[in-house]
């Protein structure tokens, strides 16, 4: 919240982009946090494959799930900004945009993949393998883009390094705020999933039968 106050008051209005430039403080942290979340999902998946503890799988799932949500936000804010500053909703010759879209499309298959495997153990294992592969794909792709193209994404690279101090400060605060928001959301989601699992276990015990109660609704989330 502090971040958004700072964005509104402290940061200087960009000379040639005007007020719309402030979307930068939402868009770029969102993107960085979403990509970090994808990579973190891969690391958590490695932890699952090493320990075979269902909770790691749950953490990996929640991280990737929220990152997908953030990625949708990135694409929306990004195209609003692009419309304002470049005049088009989508620009193909900007490699970072294209790579982000590819990564987003890749992760969009994570949920259908989970959903189409029924056995929970196998589901967790396959989803972890996917998360590791895709998690390695993210930095690889962005590294390749940075190597292949000398033209970097203008705002992200030039404004944080050479911009005036207040820009850097606001950007860092916004980035920190977004990271904290992401972690908090993950915690909430995990807590809610745990409570649901607990309630289901209690209800099963109350009902007094050992049969697995069918999970309510259709969901790709792992069962604890």
């Amino acid at each position: 919240m502090t971040a958004f106050a700072l964005v509104l008051t402290h940061a200087p209005v960009d000379a040639d982009q005007g007020v719309i430039q402030k979307i930068f403080y939402v868009h770029v942290p969102l993107a960085i946090v979403a990509l970090g979340g994808f990579v973190a999902g891969g690391v958590l998946a490695i932890m699952y494959l090493r320990t075979r503890d269902r909770r790691w799988d749950m953490r990996s799932y929640v991280t990737i799930h929220l990152s997908i949500v953030l990625a949708v936000g990135v694409l929306i804010t990004g195209s609003i900004w692009a419309r304002a500053s470049w005049g088009h909703w989508w620009v193909w010759d900007e490699p970072v945009l294209v790579v982000f879209l590819i990564v987003f499309l890749l992760y969009a298959t994570y949920q259908p993949l989970r959903f189409s495997i029924e056995d929970p153990d196998r589901q967790a294992r396959y989803a972890s393998v996917f998360a590791i592969t895709a998690g390695a794909f993210v930095p690889l792709c962005f590294g390749a883009v940075r190597m292949a193209e000398q033209v970097t994404h203008p705002p992200a690279a030039t404004m944080t390094t050479s911009g005036p101090g207040s820009v850097t400060l606001t950007f860092l605060v916004a980035l920190g705020g977004m990271t904290l928001l992401f972690i908090t959301l993950c915690k909430y989601e995990l807590a809610s999933k745990n409570v649901t699992a607990h309630v289901r276990r209690l209800r099963r015990r109350l009902a007094g039968d050992d049969d697995q109660l069918p999970a309510s609704g259709r969901s790709a989330a792992p069962q604890l």
């Binding site: 494959l49 499309l105 298959t109 259908p112 196998r122 393998v129 590791i132 690889l140 390749a144 190597m147």
Partner: protein, 229 residues
């Protein structure tokens, strides 16, 4: 390890030689797609009846990629339906052998397909003659095929146990293979340009090689977990 891979590879090739399931379908798909592209790009018999440069490279690689996806879809089907996985898991051999053998088999299929598909492309669509840059083109094809084979094997193993297998393979493979298409078509474009004596673009080729190497390592690391039951 070596004997296991050789035995598995012999099995794959024997199956393909006897059933002739994947490769003919892939070849037919390629040729049909060229015909479709010819009409889809419009201007039949006019100035655009032949293509060159960027457009030619794009058409060639997109067609080869979709043909590869057909092959990836079929890669583990026989093992899944007829109990090949069970037999393999009962045998006291390293599981990575299956990954290596399947990837080599897929690579072989792709090479055979390209033996027909690339000349057919030169004949049907390409403006400048194919002969001028053939050695360089072969290098690019081989490096890109290795990448497609490795990623394809991993995706095929990932998707074989899912309910909607035919849907999952393209959904997973296409985004993962986009870097291959970018690298390969950028590297091929100058080779197919009109009247070009261009040399091979080294940076795109090294990008492809790096991609191959990294995904081979990733596949090697995670493949065991896909075969655990």
């Amino acid at each position: 390890m070596k004997e296991t891979v050789a035995a598995l590879l012999r099995k794959e090739l024997a199956i393909e030689l006897r059933t002739r399931e994947s490769v003919p379908a892939m070849v037919l798909f390629c040729v049909t797609t060229y015909v479709v592209f010819h009409f889809g790009l419009g201007d039949v018999g006019g100035a655009r009846a032949v293509i060159a440069g960027d457009l030619a490279a794009g058409v060639l690689w997109v067609t080869l990629l979709f043909a590869a996806i057909l092959g990836i879809n079929r890669l583990f089907v026989a093992d899944h339906e007829q109990g090949g996985f069970d037999g393999f898991l009962l045998a006291p051999v390293d599981r990575t052998a299956l990954l290596v053998a399947k990837a080599i088999a897929l690579l072989t299929f792709l090479c055979v397909v390209e033996l027909v598909a690339v000349p057919a492309f030169g004949l049907l669509l390409l403006g400048p003659s194919l002969g001028q840059a053939l050695p360089e083109l072969l290098v690019v094809l081989l490096v890109a095929d290795v990448g497609i084979a490795v990623v394809g094997t991993l995706v095929a193993a990932l998707a074989i146990q899912t309910r909607a297998r035919d849907l999952m393979v393209p959904l997973l493979a296409l985004p993962l293979l986009v870097p291959v298409v970018i690298g390969a078509s950028r590297a091929t474009a100058p080779l197919l340009a009109q009247g070009a004596a261009a040399s091979l673009p080294g940076d795109w080729l090294s990008l492809l090689a790096l991609y191959d190497l990294l995904f081979a390592l990733i596949a090697y690391a995670v493949f065991d977990f896909l075969l655990e039951d």
